[in-house]
């Protein structure tokens, strides 16, 4: 699976403003809502479900990366987007570091395989330090889009 298969490009955020976990999750889900990827009346339910998942253990997987996610019956296919926070957000990460890079994923309950393949792609690409560093330094949505496209073309990891 490639980024293009699940990252909603129009919803990418290059300058997340949130300062805590719930705020940043809300900001990311709002971005998906603004481009019509999720239904307006499902916003609170989805944010609540993502927060509940965080209570089971942070999705901050280290290296300044987090993958907040949930299953939700209101989506018919895996939807997601990317957000970058320059100052970083305290996310109770597994390595204790602040998170600058967020990949939010909302998947239909009956498609665990798609979710797993998205996680596989995100971690495979972000193991490459150059890609990880460039994404964190990206100043615009356009920068993030091109980096994701380059990654999809295997320019960082073969």
């Amino acid at each position: 699976m490639k980024f293009a298969d699940f990252v909603s490009v129009e919803a990418i955020q290059s300058g997340l403003e949130a300062e805590d976990k719930e705020e940043v999750i809300r900001e990311l889900i709002q971005a998906l809502l603004d481009v019509g990827k999720i239904d307006g009346d499902q916003m609170d339910s989805i944010v609540g479900a993502v927060m509940k998942r965080e209570e089971l253990g942070s999705t901050g997987i280290g290296r300044g990366v987090a993958v907040p996610h949930t299953k939700h019956p209101s989506v018919e296919r895996l939807v997601g987007t990317v957000g970058v926070s320059k100052p970083g957000v305290d996310f109770n990460s597994l390595d204790g570091e602040k998170v600058q890079l967020f990949f939010v994923l909302v998947s239909p309950p009956d498609r665990p395989g798609d979710h797993l393949r998205a996680l596989e792609n995100i971690s495979r690409q972000l193991r490459n330090e150059t890609f990880c560093k460039f994404l964190k330094q990206a100043d615009s949505v356009e920068d993030i889009r091109s980096l994701l496209t380059e990654a999809d073309n295997n320019e960082f990891v073969s």
Binding site: G57, I61, P112, L116, R127
Partner: protein, 117 residues
């Protein structure tokens, strides 16, 4: 203490595959051993102490993994780690819901201070 290398083949049984929460448990458990441990899927090798490595395997239900350990506690590490995957992490907290909030609270200090939990 002898330096032994041992390996074990396991099949992922969880319908969700080896997802983030179980990968986290797997990595934390692997870190409790001194042995160097790797997980191999379709020729791709992952360092068992790195959650990004483990997640990048994309180990779905039915995937066959080889766990390879080298060190004085290699055999023991294999027993425990293979057990986690084959039992779908059935032993404990991975499937817990209600108590996890308190668990989260204690998580930060638990690494250094296990007996206070």
């Amino acid at each position: 203490m002898s330096e032994t290398t041992a390996s074990r083949k396991v099949t992922v049984v969880s319908p969700q595959g080896l997802h983030l929460r179980t990968a986290d448990r797997f990595v934390k458990t692997a870190k409790q051993f001194d042995s160097r441990i790797e997980v191999i899927k379709d020729g791709q090798r992952a360092e068992a102490r790195s959650i990004m490595d483990i997640l990048s395997l994309g180990a779905n239900k039915g995937a066959q993994l080889y766990i390879e350990a080298t060190g004085h506690d290699a055999q023991q590490a294999l027993d425990v780690l293979a057990g986690l995957i084959e039992s779908d992490f059935a032993d404990e907290e991975t499937h817990a819901n209600e108590e996890t909030h308190a668990e989260e609270e204690t998580r930060k200090s638990s690494d250094q201070d296990q007996e206070n939990v």
